[in-house]
C-alpha cells in the first residue's frame, strides 16, 4: 500500500469563483505525483462529500477566498461524519484567504492544515504526503 498514489479531491465549496488558486494547487500536487480530482467551483458541501466518497480519496483540499470558510468547512466535516468518512484516515486541508483566528477555529474542527497566500506549493505537497502517510499508518 505504501507506494499507492495519494488521491486528492480539490474543491471550491460555496458560490465563490476565483478558482485559479485551486487550479494551480491541483497542477502542483500532480507534479508531486498525486492523483488529483478537481471539482470546479460552486460545490455544495453535499457535493464535495459525495465526490470524495465516490472517488475514494485520501485527501480533501478546500479553497476559499471570500470569507465563507467557517460555515462550509464545518458543514463538510459534519457531513463527512454522517456519511461514515473517518477524519482519522482522511486528510482535510484548507487554503485561501483565512484570517489567523479562523485558522485556530478550523483546526479545532479537525482540519489538518491551513495554507494562506504565499504558501510554497512544495510545502503544501510535503505536508499532505506526510499527514496522509501518518493517517494511513494509523489505519493499516
Amino acid at each position: 500500500m505504501a507506494d499507492k498514489r495519494i488521491r486528492v479531491l480539490v474543491a471550491k465549496p460555496g458560490l465563490d469563483g476565483h478558482e485559479m488558486g485551486a487550479r494551480l494547487i491541483s497542477k502542483c500536487l500532480m507534479d508531486a505525483r498525486m492523483e488529483v480530482i478537481y471539482t470546479g467551483p460552486r460545490q455544495t458541501p453535499e457535493m464535495v462529500v459525495a465526490t470524495a466518497l465516490q472517488e475514494d480519496v485520501d485527501v480533501i483540499g478546500l479553497s476559499f477566498l471570500t470569507g465563507a470558510h467557517k460555515e462550509h468547512t464545518a458543514k463538510i466535516i459534519r457531513l463527512m461524519r454522517e456519511k461514515g468518512m473517518d477524519l482519522n484516515s482522511t486528510v482535510l486541508v484548507v487554503g485561501g484567504i483565512i484570517p489567523p483566528e479562523d485558522v485556530t477555529y478550523l483546526k479545532s474542527l479537525g482540519v489538518d492544515a491551513v495554507f494562506g497566500p504565499g504558501s510554497d506549493t512544495r510545502t503544501i505537497a510535503s505536508t499532505i504526503k506526510e499527514t496522509a502517510g501518518r493517517k494511513r499508518g494509523k489505519n493499516d
Partner: protein
C-alpha cells in the same frame, strides 16, 4: 562613430569586462509577464517609430500619450470606493463613513448570492450572505442600504456583471421611490461585463450568448432613455480585465483579451441599431496595474493606441471621442502578501504610480490587509489617498505622459501592442470569445502564467519580500475586519418581511410577463429585458425570483473543469 558601433564597443569594452568582477545576479532578467529584457535601451530601439504617426500628442490619434489633451493638469480624481459587507445596516454605516471622508461615488460590493441571482434564504446562499459584499435581494434592501444617502449628490457604482438588467432596474426604481427623476442620479456606473466572469472571476449565471445580450439590454436601455442626460456620467458597461490578469496572464494577453471582449460588446450594441457615438465614449477599459512599473506604463499606452487603430481601421471611425480609450483600473490585489502586510503599502504605491504614468483616469487600489480579510474602514481610505499623494505632492500632475520617449518604454509599448493584437486575433481565429470560453482557452493561458510565476518564486529566481526574501516567523497582528455572523439571519428575516408585505399577486403577474419576454428573447436576441425587469423590481420581486425565471429560459453555464 555610428551608434550601433558605439553600443557594440561599450558592450565589449565596458560592460562585459565589468561582469568578470561583478557577475549578474540572475541568469535572465524578465518583466513580471515573462518578457526578457536587455540591459540597456537606446535610440536604436526606436527604429521604425514615426513620432507623429505612432506617438503623437495627447488627445489626438493614436492617443498613445493620453486620451485627453491636458492630462492630469485639468483633472480631478473621483473619490470612488468599492465597499460593502454584512447587513444593510452595517454597509450603510460604512458608506456614510466613506462619504464623510470625501467619497463622491460609492460602488456597492454585492454578496455572491446576489451577484449570482440567488435570494439570501436560498439553500445555496447559506454561509455566503453578506460575506463578499452586501445583499441586494430586492428594492427594499437597496433602500435600506442607501438610507440617508442623497443620490443626487453621491454617485452609484455596481459590478453585477450577470445581473445587469436587475441592477439598473433597482437603481431606477429606487430613484423613483425617492421622488428623483432617474435622469438626475448623480452618476450611475455599472461594469455589466459578463465576459469577465467566464475568463477570470467565475461569477457567471447564464450561457455566454444570452449573458452578452442581457448586458447589451442595459446599454441599449440607457442609450435610448438617458442619452441627453449623459453629462451626468452614466457608464452602461466597462470592460474589466483585472481578474483575468490576476489569474496569471501577461500584460499583452490582458490587453488582447480585453479588446476581444470590448469589440464583442461593440458589435452586439451596433446590432441593436445604436451608433458608436451613442455608447463607446462612455465605456472604458478597466485594467489591472501590476508591479512591473515600466511594463504597465507601456501596456496602458499600447492599449490606447491599439484601440484607436482598431476603431479607425475596422470601424472606419475618425471621431476622437470614440477613438480615445478611457482607462480605469483596479491595481493588482493578487500581489498583496499576507506576510508583513504593511509592506503592501509600498506595492500599492508602485501600482498606482504605474497607472498614473500611464494616464489612467479612474482607479481603485486594494487595501493593504486584503490578503488577510475584508478591508477595514481605515485601510480602504488609505488605499484611496495614495493617488492623491502622488498627484499633488510628487509632481505627477505636472507633465503629460512623462515616460513618453523613454527608449525602453517606447520599445515595450510597441511589443505589447503587437503581442496584444496577436492575442486578439487568436481569439478571433477560434471563432470569437464564445469558443474561447468553451475550449477552456482562458483557463489554460492563465494556469501557464500562474504556474510559471509560482515556480519562479519557489526556485528563488524571483524574489518576493516576506515570502522568499527576509521572511519573518512572528507576524505583528493587525486589527482585521470581522463580519458579524448574525448579519445573515437579519437579512433573511428582512426578506421574509418583504415577501409578507408586498402585493404578491402583482409580483406573480410581473414575473410571468418577464418569463414571456425572456422566451421571446431566446428567439430574438434584440428583445430588451429591462422594462419587464423594472416592473418586477418595482413590485419588490426578489433577485432570486427574477433570475430563477431567467435560468429556466436560458439555462446555466457549465464551466470546463480540466486542469492542464
Amino acid at each position: 562613430m555610428k551608434l550601433e558601433d558605439a553600443l557594440k564597443k561599450w558592450e565589449e569594452e565596458v560592460r562585459q569586462p565589468s561582469l568578470a568582477k561583478k557577475p549578474e545576479n540572475k541568469k535572465e532578467f524578465k518583466t513580471i509577464s515573462g518578457t526578457p529584457v536587455k540591459p540597456i535601451y537606446t535610440p536604436l530601439d526606436m527604429e521604425g517609430i514615426d513620432y507623429q504617426k505612432d506617438i503623437g500628442f495627447a488627445g489626438q490619434f493614436p492617443f498613445t500619450r493620453g486620451r485627453t489633451p491636458n492630462g492630469y493638469r485639468s483633472f480631478t480624481w473621483p473619490h470612488d470606493f468599492y465597499s460593502g459587507y454584512g447587513s444593510s445596516e452595517s454597509a450603510n454605516e460604512r458608506y456614510r463613513d466613506l462619504i464623510n471622508h470625501g467619497a463622491t461615488v460609492i460602488t456597492l460590493a454585492l454578496d455572491l448570492p446576489t451577484q449570482i441571482g440567488y435570494d439570501s434564504d436560498d439553500p445555496l446562499a447559506e454561509g455566503e450572505v453578506g460575506k463578499a459584499g452586501v445583499a441586494l435581494a430586492s428594492l427594499a434592501d437597496a433602500d435600506r442600504v442607501l438610507e440617508g444617502i442623497d443620490l443626487k449628490k453621491t454617485g452609484l457604482g455596481f459590478v453585477g456583471n450577470c445581473i445587469g438588467p436587475y441592477i439598473l432596474s433597482v437603481s431606477l426604481a429606487l430613484a423613483e421611490k425617492r421622488g428623483i427623476d432617474p435622469a438626475y442620479l448623480r452618476h450611475f456606473r455599472i461594469q455589466n461585463d459578463p465576459l469577465k466572469e467566464y475568463s477570470g472571476r467565475d461569477t457567471y449565471i447564464f450561457p455566454v450568448d444570452p449573458a452578452i445580450e442581457m448586458a447589451t439590454d442595459v446599454v441599449e436601455y440607457i442609450c435610448r432613455n438617458f442619452q441627453d442626460k449623459w453629462d451626468w456620467q452614466w457608464v452602461p458597461q466597462y470592460v474589466c480585465t483585472t481578474q483575468v490578469r490576476w489569474a496569471g496572464v501577461s500584460a499583452a494577453q490582458e490587453l488582447g483579451f480585453g479588446l476581444a471582449h470590448f469589440l464583442t460588446y461593440i458589435d452586439s450594441a451596433l446590432e441593436r441599431g445604436l451608433s458608436l457615438g451613442d455608447f463607446v465614449p462612455k465605456m472604458d477599459w478597466h485594467a489591472s496595474s501590476d508591479l512591473d512599473l515600466f511594463e504597465e506604463v507601456a501596456k496602458f499606452r499600447a492599449g490606447r493606441r491599439l484601440f484607436a487603430r482598431l476603431m479607425k481601421e475596422r470601424y472606419h471611425c475618425d471621431d476622437p471621442n470614440i477613438q480615445g480609450l478611457r482607462i480605469s483600473l483596479w491595481t493588482s490585489a493578487n500581489r498583496m502578501t499576507a506576510q508583513q502586510p504593511l509592506n503592501n503599502l509600498a506595492r500599492i504605491t508602485v501600482q498606482v504610480l504605474a497607472a498614473m504614468l500611464g494616464g489612467v483616469e479612474h482607479m481603485w487600489a486594494p487595501a493593504y490587509d486584503e490578503a488577510l480579510a475584508l478591508p477595514t474602514s481605515e485601510s480602504t481610505r488609505v488605499a484611496n489617498q495614495i493617488k492623491l499623494i502622488l498627484h499633488h505632492e510628487c509632481g505627477l500632475e505636472n507633465v503629460i505622459d512623462p515616460m513618453g520617449g523613454s527608449y525602453y518604454v517606447e520599445k515595450l509599448t510597441n511589443q505589447i501592442e503587437e503581442e496584444a493584437f496577436h492575442w486578439l486575433q487568436e481569439i478571433e481565429k477560434m471563432g470569437g470569445v464564445q469558443n474561447a470560453v468553451a475550449e477552456g482557452f482562458y483557463y489554460s493561458e492563465e494556469l501557464k502564467g500562474l504556474y510559471r510565476f509560482q515556480k519562479e518564486v519557489e526556485s528563488g529566481e524571483r524574489k518576493v519580500v516576506g515570502i522568499n526574501l527576509l521572511p519573518v516567523e512572528e507576524e505583528i497582528p493587525l486589527d482585521l475586519f470581522k463580519v458579524d455572523s448574525a448579519d445573515e439571519s437579519r437579512q433573511v428575516k428582512r426578506l421574509d418581511h418583504v415577501r409578507e408585505t408586498r402585493d404578491n399577486k402583482l409580483v406573480q403577474q410581473c414575473l410571468e410577463v418577464l418569463g414571456e419576454m425572456a422566451t421571446k428573447k431566446a428567439g430574438d436576441k434584440k428583445v430588451n429585458l429591462v422594462p419587464a425587469t423594472l416592473e418586477a423590481v418595482r413590485a419588490n420581486a426578489t433577485v432570486g425570483e427574477i433570475h430563477g425565471i431567467l435560468r429556466k429560459v436560458f439555462g446555466e453555464f457549465q464551466a470546463p473543469v480540466k486542469v492542464s
